[in-house]
Symmetry: C2
Subunit: 114 residues, 2 copies
DNA sequence: CAAATATACATAATTTTTTTATGCATCAAA
DNA sequence: TTTGATGCATAAAAAAATTATGTATATTTG
């Protein structure tokens, strides 16, 4: 039983948006599996966090939805809107700044080229 | 007016602990100034988050407090306990995992040596 | 073939962690 | 003398998760 990686709160939307940017369109369950696969099980997106997040981003105009029936089961495919693409870029910059700042705090002697 | 860097929720305690590990002991206000200085104003630790966090870590046995009067003003110096040192190490590992996983998600083509 | 597991969505209650808004007090500088 | 910096603190609200459920279909396994 591998130890579960904590997900810093606020990073979930960034993860979702970035995956959608890469994959074009994805459905909820697919996103949870993709994250698990990429991180080799270290990160786990819970459905209780995922679905409300998707609904909110849709309400905010960042995502478009398209329903699909596959093997008798419903899938809701999400993709970025134009506004969502911009938001993704903005969130990526924030993530990079966060990582850079954290690394500076954590490793103050390290010289970084930016 | 520079744009304020968002602080992912959950990272505050890690920041505080890592600074205490480096500096030996610090007081609250000093921590806010140090973070501002290191990140060149990009990150701002609010006092409404800082003081409750310090109190909680003290209650959890991660920090020891020592009062001091300087220039007629009270300072509360915090330092890591033995248990706090362990917790700092553990939180640092979590941070490194988080960063590594986020970079893998964000830049899936990049090959990293770990 | 029955039961367990995987797929696929969803929501409600709770918890965690922060922001925002205050409040009090001392000291230095303008 | 009043403004800004220093230094602590708490309360209300907001944000964003976790945990616990619930429903339903498909597939695998004993």
């Amino acid at each position: 039983m591998k130890k579960q990686q904590q997900l810093y709160k606020g990073s979930l939307n960034t993860i979702i948006m970035k995956l959608l940017e890469q994959q074009g369109k994805m459905y909820g369950y697919e996103i949870t599996q993709k994250v698990k696969e990429i991180t080799q099980g270290e990160m786990n997106i819970t459905e209780g966090a995922l679905y409300p997040a998707l609904h909110k981003m849709e309400a905010d105009g960042f995502l478009d939805v398209e329903m699909d029936r596959v093997d008798g089961r419903i899938r809701k495919y999400y993709k970025l809107t134009e506004s969502g693409v911009k938001e993704t870029i903005s969130r990526m910059e924030e993530l990079e700044n966060f990582i850079r700042n954290m690394q500076t705090i954590v490793n103050p002697n390290l010289k970084l080229d930016y």
